[in-house]
Amino acid sequence: MNNKFIRIIPKLDIKNGLLIKSINLDGLRVLGDPYDFAKLYYDMGADEIFYSDVVASLYGTINLSKYINRISKSLFIPLTVSGGIKTLNQIEEFLKNGADKISINTEAINNISLIKKASRVFGSSTIVSNIQSIKIENKYFITKENGREIIKENPVKWAKKLEDNGVGEIFLTSINKEGLKKGFDLNILKKVSNSVKIPVIAHGGAGSHEQIYQVIKNTNISGVAISGFFHYAVCNSFKTKKFKLGNTYFIDNLTKEKSKNVILDLKKYLLNRNIRIRK
């Protein structure tokens, strides 16, 4: 009997300490302070938070500890941190600063032995790997540096290799679907989640309750990561802060109003369709 409970995981993409939202992992728009969003999602009943520093693999991780340290103080649910992690020492530092799980993509591709060592030292359940899958002319590839570089490797094969090297969870982003709110790439999610025996989290494309239900029903995933679909529905409740960095046109023109509980609404929808989920 499959009695796992599906996890609902808000995903926060961070650049220079600010929450941003991209389309196809590109084209960034500032949405606010990640601390506000993380705390709100925790209060609304999120099962976990995924925190991704989108430029850390390019520019380094100097401030990441400081940011997660601040966020973790108000979160009593698991916090997964991703972004430019290259060494065991960095993993230890992030765990010391409030991360519960560490997600690695770029460095896993560059140096798979890091994954092997990390899962031995910190345990498989602490080490996640995000796969950024891209579909080009009906063929799937993986990418590194947040979609900037395409690697000639099939995501299914890559997922198995990660599993063999001790990764405890796959976080699968479909770049072609990301930020479009037109539904998930069921094809690749089905293939990956059926070919490994570790949990797979679906990310990229959430735009309606029905689409989220479909990805849970039609694949073997253990959780769904959601960013824009949640962020845009709640961001007008924080319209008190001013940011000087980046493209803030969108948040500067919001009208302030109290947001509805987006997580509870989604969970109610799924429970009504007999999906096992934490109430």
């Binding site: 009695n3 796992k4 996890r7 099962d47 698991p78 230890e92 799980k101 910190f122 405890g168």
Partner: protein
């Protein structure tokens, strides 16, 4: 007077998460310095957290003489030791991780890996099924969910110590245990939202 919690740092843990949760549950909280001695004088409760490899964690315990310090602490019946996740598993006699690794042997029994046919690690929220009511664990917890993330589970020699069981696929494993003043939780109370904090608060009151 607030009760005092000391957290043992095995350097492989989500140590700040536990620290924050203990503060939230209103304990006076400290991460124990490796050089510290005489835990009895300073703490009411010691938490042995843990994620990571069994053998690695046991090596850290021996390197810092934590095993001896814990025994000395437990000689006072009013003191409580709480093992969380891997910390619970370390309380047992041995684990089958990487062949066989010896544990603290404070509770007789072994630690076994989940069947390879199911999704492992077991990562996510699950229910407790309380089989024995205590000061800290009551039937009320059956309605609540807690966060788990583990590939191994404990099999105690004596069923009488089992406090709760949790189902994962066809497996009903021991998710909480108590033997005298030693308590183990396979789930993470520090990561189980409001219910996890409430559970920790019970140790502040009792």
């Amino acid at each position: 007077m607030k009760k005092k919690i000391g957290i043992l740092d095995l350097k492989i843990n989500n140590i700040l998460s536990i620290y924050n949760a203990c503060l939230k549950a209103n304990f006076s909280t400290n991460i124990i310095n490796t050089k510290e001695k005489n835990y009895k004088k300073k703490y009411d409760i010691i938490i042995l957290p843990g994620v990571g490899s069994y053998k690695n964690a046991m090596n850290k315990i021996y390197d810092n003489n934590y095993n001896i310090k814990i025994l000395e602490f437990l000689s006072d019946n009013n003191k409580i030791l709480i093992g969380i996740c891997l910390g619970m598993q370390l309380l047992f006699s041995n684990s089958e991780e990487f062949g066989k690794s010896s544990g603290l042997n404070l509770i007789k029994g072994k630690v076994k890996r989940f069947d390879k046919k199911i999704i492992v690690p077991h990562t996510g929220w699950a229910k407790l099924n309380i089989v024995k009511n205590t000061n800290f664990f009551t039937n009320k917890l059956n309605e609540q969910m807690f966060f788990f993330t583990h590939s191994f589970y404990c099999i105690p020699e004596k069923a009488e110590h089992i406090i709760s069981k949790t189902q994962y696929f066809d497996n009903k494993f021991c998710s909480a245990i108590q033997k005298d003043n030693i308590i183990g939780m396979q789930f993470h109370p520090e990561k189980s939202g409001k219910h996890g904090i409430e559970l920790l608060k019970k140790f502040e009151r009792n």
